[in-house]
Amino acid sequence: MIPLFDVQCGCGGVPGGAREALSGETLLEEMARVEIGRALVRLAPAAMLFDPIEANERLFALGTAGDRLVPCPLVLPNTAGDVGPEPVQVEAFISRGARAVALRPRSDAWSLAPWACDSLLHALEERRLPALCAMDEFTLEDAAALAGRFPALPIILIGVSYRAQRVLIPLLQAFPNTYLSLGANYTVHLGVEQLAAAAGAGRLLFGTGYPATGMMSAITNLLYAELSDEEMRLIGSGNLARLLEGVR
């Protein structure tokens, strides 16, 4: 059985129309049902998460369920002096078990201009703390620009469309510190195989997109792919585990 470590996953937020937040227990139960061993977890759905500091507290309160859940908090530049110095934020996250962070420039109203965010990105790069860039917050060009300015910072692209293959291939080839989650919305006919051949299986990460969508589609997309067992193991869990172990 190929071990799976989900890079694009969340709980703790309130799904649209629901009256209760999606609990950590629900996430763990679904992971067990489809045999996903570990997950990098953000607070999601994020629709009503207007307070990133409170969102992070709720995320850490979910716990780690052994080491099955790895927190991925939100991080912001301290350009307005309201969230604490970036190196302090990063140190606090790592000491609480975080091994990656999520960037939300649109939702949290900050700029990707170098003069407005490089202090934050420097702090992340210093610790090799992977940064998740979701496509509802970034364009692929935005994410590539960060990858180019901070070559030691792992940039993880999530929520990439099935229509982006013409951009993804040169992006992954041009920026060796970029990684792609194969979770929603990546459903490309023989696309995983083409990316593995063009950029290497080491750059692809298993991800689901839960709870916006179910977990099983991403699983079958990987396990029925024309890949070797070794490539599936790298994509399924090995690559993400290696990235998170690289945090200083």
Binding site: Y162, G209, A212, G214, M216, I219, T220, N221, Y224, E226
Partner: protein, 258 residues
């Protein structure tokens, strides 16, 4: 105990399940698809263990229906029994549609695929011969839908007027789930197709609860989308394996008289 969920989790072949995919495509589209050959589709069918896929050409949104149908016919002949053909139609006139449908049915096409992205509604009079032939011959009609009222209203009228034609609603639940369920409830020849790039959690369960598993049919949208990805939501749904088998192939087998 081995279940369809556990088989999907293992990446094991479904060859003994009799999976039939009722929503596939051939031909180029605007975004890049890594392999546009019909052979690449068959390779995927073999890997997953899918018996066959019913394909229309990507030109179902365009005006080159004759050429598109010839392309599909070539794939049908190259891969007999594995690639089935939907007829694409351009509503130039009543006569043109009638001639094209009669010709393609004689060539072995199994149904009709319509897309209203071509600028014509499904109620356009030129389509009438296609509906009449589908009714008489019990040919499935796959309608592109996205939950909007005018489209679903058209399909409701067509399904009511031509009860012998199974009407498959592509992308069921992309929006307005309740309207799809109401259509399936009201009309016995309505079937809900599962192709959707990013279905919300629990969609399959809700379609089955609201319409019955016997009214839901597996469609992947290959190679617009990935078949291995699309089949996961069926294998992983919180429904019985018996219901999954109906969706994956049992219902399609009945519709195609296979």
């Amino acid at each position: 105990m081995e279940t369809l969920l556990s088989r999907g989790r293992a990446g094991a072949s479904l060859a003994d399940v009799g999976v039939i995919d009722l929503h596939g495509h051939l031909g180029r589209y605007s975004f890049a698809i890594p392999d546009l050959s019909a052979g690449s589709i068959v390779r995927v069918l073999d890997r997953v263990g899918v018996e066959c896929v019913a394909c229309s050409h990507m030109q179902c949104m365009g005006y080159r229906a004759h050429w598109a149908n010839d392309e599909v016919l070539a794939a049908m002949r190259a891969h007999p029994g594995r690639i089935l053909g939907y007829i694409n139609l351009w509503p130039a006139s009543v006569d043109a549609v009638r001639v094209e449908v009669e010709k393609r049915v004689a060539q072995g096409f199994m149904g009709v695929k319509l897309h209203n992205g071509n600028g014509f509604t499904y109620s356009d009079p030129a389509y009438a011969p296609a509906y009449a032939i589908a009714h008489d011959c019990h040919l499935p009609i796959l309608f592109h839908t996205w939950g909007d009222d005018p489209t679903l209203r058209d399909v409701r009228e067509i399904a009511a007027r031509y009860p012998g034609a199974p009407c498959l609603l592509a992308h069921a639940g992309a929006a307005a789930e309740d309207k799809y369920l109401a259509l399936a409830h009201d009309l016995p020849n309505i079937y809900l197709d599962t192709a959707l790039s990013c279905p919300p959690c629990g969609l399959i369960e809700r379609l089955v609860a609201g319409a019955g598993a016997e009214r839901v049919v597996f469609g992947s949208d290959i190679y617009f989308l990935s078949l291995p990805h699309q089949i996961g939501k069926i294998l992983g749904a919180r429904i019985s394996d018996e219901e999954k088998r109906l969706i994956l192939g049992g219902n399609a087998r009945m519709l195609l008289h296979r």
